[in-house]
Amino acid sequence: MTTETATAAATATATASGTSKMTTRNVDVFYGEKQAIDGVSIDIDMENVTAFIGPSGCGKSTFLRTMNRMNDTIPTCRVTGEITLDGEDIYAPSMDVVQLRARVGMVFQKPNPFPKSIYDNIAYGPRIHGLASGKAELDQIVEKSLQRAGLWSEVKDRLHESGTALSGGQQQRLCIARAIAVDPEVILMDEPCSALDPIATAKIEELIHELRGKYAIVIVTHNMQQAARVSQRTAFFHLGNMVEYGDTSEMFTNPQEERTRDYITGRYG
């Protein structure tokens, strides 16, 4: 373990409070022989939005995907270390990955609504998990999810049109609504605005503000201004290591590590 990661781990542990929703300890990720993540330890809490920043290829998305085991879909990917959700090891053999993903939802870089109606997109999760006992209840879940995602007023008259016919920003909010519909505890967002224009981005950021506190939110972004705007906690990744983790305001005004300072001042990345 390098000195940086040791510091990082220490920092993370030091700031961990009693309300940690998810914790990771010494997580390594390998793609075949290649190591993509080296010894990351971090605590995610309920009250704050946590941002992962860092240059392209630093492993921040890879790390995010270990948190709901989406990397299981990549055959060569191997994870070691410990990741827990409410104290429960999510890589334990007894963990039901289907249940895990219902509790830890995910929003992707590119909006990926299913080629179904808006209604069916939202109803997809509740239906497969049997969350609604009847049509009325399902309608209610769909409406509530769309309202929470700030999309209800825009689509309420065309719920049965295709989800792919919406604009890019609306599609992304639809995907957030879809994730909310199964009532997760944690929402992972993998660069949710990188395919969107500034106005749509502003709407998503506003939405993240509103969702804060209801869900533990982790957002990966390569946009430092965005991290500064939406998050309270920030982790900086570089070359597979987590270099620094702390309060966002502290991180941007007074970074502890030189690499963080160089990245934030635009020296590289």
Binding site: V98, A102, N112, P115, Y124, H129, R178, V182
Partner: protein, 458 residues
């Protein structure tokens, strides 16, 4: 001169003109003239192509018109004036005389032919000389034309490029022209058939009973509905009932479940299955599947089961089509963006829920297109049904009964002695045309669906 000799001569002349053209271009370099536009080789090729191509075109045209010229010359001779006026007989004598002229040792069946043979010999040599002379002249004229145009600033390179383009265009037109010719002959012969048999009787009649006679309306029936039904029953219903589920499931397994290692050897095997000659499937159907099905039918209490059944042919055809459906479905499922799959898995859906509710619906247009292409292949398939489905034109929905298909009947109508004026033979063309139109439409619709769907994700 014979054809090969002329071709050799042309090649020789082409080589000579290549050398001369190149030499002339080379002289410009050695005599100090700068800025030769193209390399000497191009000048050589330019000259050679001008020498060969026009002459070759002439040879092609000449070989198609010279026999008529020869025959005309023979007929204009006084010795041929007393030939029979019946065009059929006269044609027979003339063609025999031509055979004798070409193979002197042959014995004549018809004495008149022996008399005409020397006339043929002289007429042929007459036109042979004219033709050869014309070819050589054309060759020299072409070469000379090109040779004169060779100058330092002549753009031989560009001209050669154009000529190459024209040659390639011709090559690609041949396949298209052949298709057009086939379609034209289908249409022409079908028109003759429909002159004898009303299209309404053909397309809507339910009795199929062609007889070997040239007299129309002699108790024959050309109602093709049992054939169409048999084709649809075997190719579009039974075969698809086998091919669609198995093809789809194997595609889902290969794209979603199979480990890369398994996929690596399973997919080629499936593709090899698609390359088995259909006649092999045919005797598998006729010798193995059909008797087994007949015994099975007898066992479950169907008394009139025959050893030729729609089910045997359809099932084997379905097996034959599985790799086809599987590979089309494989392509469409693989074309669904992985973000769809990830989106569904991230919602906590299992693999099979994801496949059932997201991947298959998203891939459906491509899958449907593939199925339509498979249907169009199945209804045009011949060997299996000829061997296993039987010849009885039954209009039945009993899969254990013998039915017949369009392709089987075409084979049946055209084998044996054929009189190209009888409706029996011409019916084959009408059936062929119908099959052609249907498969063409199926292919067009299928390709349209597949293309439209591909655009949606690109």
């Amino acid at each position: 001169m014979t054809g090969p000799a002329i071709l050799l001569l042309l090649l020789g002349l082409g080589l000579i003109s290549w050398i001369f053209g190149r030499a002339k271009a080379n002289r410009f370099i050695t005599s100090g003239s700068k800025n030769l536009n193209s390399l000497p080789n191009y000048h050589g090729w330019y000259t050679a192509l001008w020498a060969i191509v026009p002459a070759l075109i002439f040879v092609a045209i000449w070989s198609s018109i010279s026999p008529a010229l020869v025959t005309d010359m023979v007929l204009s001779d006084p010795a041929a004036s007393q030939l029979s006026s019946d065009s059929f007989k006269r044609g027979a004598i003339l063609s025999e005389a031509r055979d004798i002229a070409n193979n002197p040792g042959q014995k004549a069946f018809n004495p008149e032919a022996t008399a005409l043979a020397p006339l043929y010999v002289s007429a042929q040599s007459h036109y042979d000389i004219i033709g050869t002379l014309a070819v050589v002249l054309l060759c020299f004229a072409g070469a000379a034309f090109a040779f004169i145009r060779i100058r330092p600033d002549f753009r031989a390179r560009k001209r050669v490029e154009q000529l190459v383009m024209i040659v390639l265009l011709m090559a690609s037109l041949i396949a298209i022209l052949a298709t057009v010719g086939i379609v034209a002959s289908l249409i022409f012969e079908s028109a003759r058939f429909f002159g004898m048999i009303s299209p309404i009787d053909f397309f809507f009649g339910t009795e199929w009973n062609p007889k070997n006679t040239s007299v129309a309306g002699d108790g024959e029936d050309f109602g093709a509905v049992p054939l169409f039904w048999g084709t649809i029953f075997i190719g579009a219903i039974i075969a698809m009932a086998v091919a669609i589920p198995f093809g789809l499931m194997s595609a889902v397994y290969l794209t979603q479940y199979a480990k890369p290692k398994v996929r690596k050897w399973m997919k080629p095997i499936l593709e090899i299955l698609a390359g088995v000659p259909t006649v092999v499937y045919g005797y598998f159907a006729a010798l193995t599947v059909a008797p087994a099905l007949r015994d099975f039918a007898a066992w479950i209490g169907i008394s009139n089961a025959t050893s030729e059944s729609a089910l045997a042919a359809g099932v084997v055809m379905g097996v034959m089509i599985i790799p086809f459906v599987s590979s089309m479905a494989d392509d469409s499922i693989a074309a669904v963006p992985s973000s769809m799959r990830d989106g569904s898995l991230a919602m906590g859906a299992t693999k099979s829920e994801t496949i059932k509710k997201v991947l298959i619906p998203a891939a459906l247009p491509g899958v449907v297109g593939g199925i339509l292409l498979a249907v169009s292949r199945a209804i045009g398939e011949t060997m299996i049904v000829v061997m296993a489905a039987g010849l009885a034109a039954n209009l039945t929905a009993n899969p254990f009964a013998s039915v017949t298909t369009v392709t089987t009947q075409i084979v049946q109508l055209l084998t044996g002695d054929s009189d190209f004026n009888s409706p029996k033979v011409l019916a084959a063309f009408a059936l062929g045309l119908t099959l052609f139109v249907v498969t063409l439409l199926l292919n067009l619709v299928a390709l349209h669906i597949v293309k439209k769907y591909r655009e949606a994700y690109e």
